[in-house]
Subunit: 462 residues, 2 copies
């Protein structure tokens, strides 16, 4: 229980200046980027080192106080919404890049390091950390690991889990657990590293993360293809993959999104286009040249009205800035934005796009669709006003129908935003009840007092 004595003990561990209980602070930590009810935590604490982190976990386990770890709060499934009888553990001071090892191509970081900060440091050494979630300018690597964050490069380079080689974390009992290694192969013990990635802070509190790095691609080519129907655009996407080309990035924007982006950023996008696809191929210059040619030819073959190549770095940056502004742009349209990430096998993208249009029509709601078409991970984005209860009810029905359709097409509820609170009630649809029981048994054994981010992933009835 959080009482004066508990707060005093927290202050004894980290110093009173790193414990927060004021209402305005609690408000800040009561919500994240998901459209869900906020919840005020009972306090927040910001440890400065490994020892303090471990003492906080042990204290909370002893007192039965739930811990929700928070990096930058960019979570899109409610994974960082705290318990009202719990504390928020802030990783802001655990923000050191401990090592970048060029010879063995790995980095060791603390959980509070900002994704873009690591990417920039690594780039200086001619290396590459590919995962690039939309929020990477502010998101933390601890949050990325907890959510198994994806990004624009998932198609060719994979997602966060493909880069986590090892972890140091405190388990619920306050024991310090080391998993994985700094070697590219490791078959010793259970793959606890793999289990921890995407576990949303429910199985342990991260202290150190070892990340795989790869050589940076030496060349790249970005391009934009314009379509008069989104069907043609989505068929192009499937055709590119079918031709065994894996672009670094292969994104789609529908007309709704194009107009929102253009209103917001004046990027010079064609407002009357029904859809755009944005493509970047990278690697060796010869590969880039060849794949670039093939992709352009496929775009035209499948009906692109135009294909424009970025001729300079500035032109390239403009394309990707437009894409990266999509979420902010759509957020201007209406008071509430619900960003979904149901994902389907890549060949089903045309089916999914058609279904999204039908669902928008059926429920009379605005859905802007953009996202990582190349890996089947679309972001249907519903623009609404949560205060309009009647409309929001239709939105909820539409979301459920989107989930059903994704699963029908052999897909998944979440490509990269995680389960959190938002998708926990729908998990059974995809994974079945046995999988939930298995997960709950596992979780109960590892967190017997249910203090690690309760209610996330496996739901509240445990």
């Amino acid at each position: 229980m959080i009482d004066q004595s508990f707060i005093k003990q927290l202050a004894g561990i980290v110093g009173p200046e790193h414990v927060f209980t004021q209402k305005e602070d609690m408000l800040t930590y009561s919500y994240d980027a998901a459209v869900l009810d906020s919840r005020m935590p009972g306090g927040a604490v910001m440890p400065g080192n490994t020892e303090e982190l471990g003492e906080i976990v042990a204290l909370c386990n002893g007192a039965g106080v739930p811990i929700t770890v928070r990096g930058s709060g960019t979570n899109l499934s409610g994974g960082t919404i705290p318990e009202s009888d719990g504390i928020v553990l802030l990783t802001g001071r655990l923000n050191q890049i401990l090592e970048i090892n060029e010879a063995d191509m790995y980095a060791v970081v603390r959980p509070g390091v900002v994704t873009a900060a690591l990417a920039a440091e690594v780039e200086k050494k001619g290396l590459f950390y590919p995962p690039d979630p939309g929020s990477m300018a502010v998101s933390t690597l601890g949050g990325n690991v907890a959510e198994n964050a994806g990004g624009l490069r998932g198609l060719k380079y994979g997602v966060t889990k493909d880069y986590v080689m090892g972890l140091h974390f405190f388990d619920a009992l306050g024991n310090y657990v080391k998993t994985g290694s700094r070697t590219v192969k490791c078959a010793t013990g259970y793959n606890i590293t793999g289990l921890m990635v995407g576990s949303e802070g429910t199985l342990g509190v991260l202290d150190q993360i070892t990340l795989k790095l790869i050589p940076a691609p030496v060349a790249r080519q970005s391009m934009v293809a314009v379509y008069d129907t989104i069907e043609k655009a989505s068929e192009t996407v499937a055709a590119i993959i079918a031709a065994h080309i894996l672009p670094a990035t292969l994104e789609i924007l529908d007309n709704f999104t194009i107009r929102a982006v253009e209103d917001y950023s004046k990027a010079g996008l064609p407002m009357d286009a029904d859809a755009l696809i944005l493509i970047e191929v990278d690697g060796h210059p010869a590969v880039v040249a060849e794949e670039g040619e093939k992709v352009q030819a496929l775009c035209r073959q499948f009906g692109a009205q135009s294909v424009t190549l970025a001729k300079t770095d500035e032109e390239r940056d403009k394309i990707w800035a437009a894409r990266r502004s999509a979420l902010s742009a759509l957020a201007q349209v209406k008071p509430t934005l619900v960003l979904e990430d149901a994902t389907v096998p890549r060949s089903k993208i045309p089916d999914m796009v058609r279904s999204l249009q039908a669902i928008a029509k059926k429920y009379k709601i605005d859905i802007g669709t953009f996202g990582h078409a190349g890996d089947g991970n679309l972001h249907p984005t519903i623009l609404t006003d949560r205060r309009d209860q009647e409309e929001f009810h239709r939105v909820e029905q539409a979301i459920e129908e989107i989930f059903d359709k994704a699963i029908d097409l052999g897909g998944t509820l979440s490509g990269e935003h995680g389960t959190g609170i938002a998708k926990a009630p729908f998990l059974e649809k995809e994974a079945g009840y046995s999988s939930i029981l298995f997960s709950r048994r596992l979780r109960k054994a590892l967190d017997p007092n249910n203090i690690l981010n309760p209610g996330k992933i496996t739901g509240v009835s445990e």
Copy 2:
């Protein structure tokens, strides 16, 4: 308990022709490729479909009879050595390739499919399943997943865990659990797929495996570099990686191994060379040409006496046949062969090679060293005679010193052979006691009656 009634019930599930209790059969299933005491199981059973598999698991859980799943028994850490009061579950009839999906680049297989059989089918469609454990001609994909098998291509392409997208399995209670998806991104629920890979049959019995496929590389170039000292060879390996070149394969053979291979296969290897490195670069023709040039230059710069390129497919195949015969060749030298796979960060390969030479000298034993130098995964191979107790004691001391050295250098006990029985006693050295406790809690929750391959990974004291 295994009694007549239990055997009768097994026969009722799969038919009496698929239940085995004869002594000669039990002998066959009493050992694997690890140098450990054999143990005769109480019976063996070969289910033919999902339903039979589930019924066997439920029967065993109810009766408290341990199950050890066995594919081809190529395990190198004792993972397939059964319990004397348990049964061996044979996957030989669960050997169907259920789907190869070209558009979405995945395959769905049953656990008994032979690795090379899938690789060949996939290749016909212009796709590629990269993991290639040394035993792939006979090993099964179920075994590969259970052990997180590696292979010669780990350096560039990763290992089995990097290709498992989803699983269907029976948990210890006989519930059918589905995990993962057929999409390249999936962030729904826990990453149980990741946990299951490398869990050595201790958390569930596999029924279906969904594997990621990638486009096949269109060109490749193999070459052999000859050295008068193994130090120069190992420094070349580190230099290639430091130059940010990731060959598909980068293998080393020491003089002991070269002579054994030459005796065995008359491959035309230079018997007086202190070491060889065998390299293959692959990908786009321009990349292959450029990386091939750079690798040759580095070989010469670091002291190679000669670098020979394979000019035809026959010459290429001859190089890799020689490498793949190393284990068989060494096995001819003495009655007992202990194949280790301690793995170090790649830049530490020269250190590890020097240490192996010193350890061989110190304990007056024969160590032939070959293996996947490019990913730090050497295979120091000790030739001995287990019946010579005095020598075998020195061998055991040497192995422990090899483990210690690998860990000192920031490495791991096992790069790809798993923990099994052989390395379970040493796990704490690497992972620490907290990690073992965490693993035991997890396991106990998921297999409360301890029927799934007991004693493997976390040891017997649970």
